[in-house]
Symmetry: C2
Subunit: 241 residues, 2 copies
């Protein structure tokens, strides 16, 4: 595999993805840990090929990390401060990993490419966490789902990027009606409510929430779901396309 500096990428432009999933009443974010000494976490990122739309690039990065096609994606903001550079992080990484890293000519070229100032386009994705098989790249030690409230300390401004993504998701919720992308094919009304509550960080009154969601007219009601619990069985719903 070629190194980034040798690829046909647009230079100084990157894409950072905030991949949201949902599990056990919690909003989760998929975050790789970098395979070097020193505990570095960084959002799934990538670059844009010369012949590639930025939306395609984001889709490619998402596909590579989650293994799934046709992911729900929204561009939400550009991060473009002049101070946005990997240099402090890379220097720290190199200091921690002096033994492992060769200082060949090629490495220098990579270093120069990576430590330039980058303008990053932020995308957020909503996925069914059950369908995702997180994919490590060569550079990753691990890739895990972290609760939005227990994120690891990330490099650069990646924590801010997650904050912005969450704010945007919250404000998009009514307009785009996209929270269903976090759920499996079929789900109960209670599950919908719990997703909304996890995203909005507040509770809803059950009866009014149910009415509000049904009045959106985006769900079709299927058979009942018998769980074995000693109470009335809820209906299953599916998002109408």
């Amino acid at each position: 595999m070629k190194n980034p500096s040798q690829q046909n990428y647009i230079s100084q432009v990157s894409i950072d993805c905030v991949i949201f999933g949902y599990h056990e009443r919690q909003l989760k974010v998929l975050i790789p840990k970098i395979n070097f000494k020193g505990d570095f976490w960084a959002l799934p990122s990538g670059f844009v090929y010369q012949e590639e739309d930025i939306d395609q690039a984001a889709e490619r990065i998402l596909r590579d990390r989650t293994g799934i096609q046709d992911i729900y994606l929204e561009q939400f903001r550009v991060f473009g401060k002049a101070s946005r550079t990997n240099k402090p992080f890379l220097d720290e990484l190199i200091a921690f990993n002096f033994d492992k890293l060769s200082v060949k000519n090629e490495a220098q070229q990579e270093y120069d490419w990576f430590t330039k100032r980058f303008i990053s386009i932020g995308y957020y994705a909503l996925v069914d966490i059950n369908k995702v098989v997180p994919q490590k790249t060569d550079l990753d030690e691990s890739i895990e789902w972290y609760s939005i409230h227990e994120l690891p300390r990330m490099i650069m401004d990646h924590s801010d990027i997650v904050d912005e993504a969450l704010k945007t998701l919250q404000s998009h919720l009514d307009e785009k009606i996209n929270a269903f992308n976090l759920l499996p094919e079929t789900f109960t009304m209670k599950e919908v409510q719990e997703v909304y509550e996890a995203i909005c960080e507040k509770t809803f009154v059950r009866t009014n929430f149910q009415k509000m969601i049904l009045e959106l007219n985006v769900l079709e009601r299927l058979e009942k779901k018998f769980t074995g619990a000693a109470n009335k069985a809820p209906y299953l719903y599916r998002f109408k396309k």
Copy 2:
């Protein structure tokens, strides 16, 4: 002045600005016409210096075109299709202006720089049209305010960029309460209503509109404005900062 290709710009990244003004019940956009044969209009644009935040770059471009500092600005979207290139436009321009253009080495270098694929960050600005003295650059034949409903045919995807900017402005209106940036220091309630109507492309009931705006608690009431009209004089208001 140095040519763009020789400047210390980030390559393949541009900033396009949709500068909104308001006059005579109409939303206006400030658009330069390029100083070459062939009737080419293009949004006020520019590039980002290596040491410059993207927000600073947008402010600089805005300042250069309007002559005013501290402009209200919002980043609204990135346009990043692989097909986004000036090449068709430039080739057309060159065909129209074959006599005028030298084909020196330097011109080739400019041509190569300009015809690459560009990722453009869209900003919209809201200005008091009375304060703006539109500034032509070397490349402009003219720079004029056009009604949002009578825009000239623009190069590339610049019409789409204006459409997106307007949509964003409309949706930002409630949340950011920014329409007052289109008005002078003091204004009547009727003028506020007319600005809102121009932006939203719909009418409001006067009495309810007045109540809604006053309940925002962002205006302070000043003296009355006597216009000489044979009716009750309206109050002037100022936006509280």
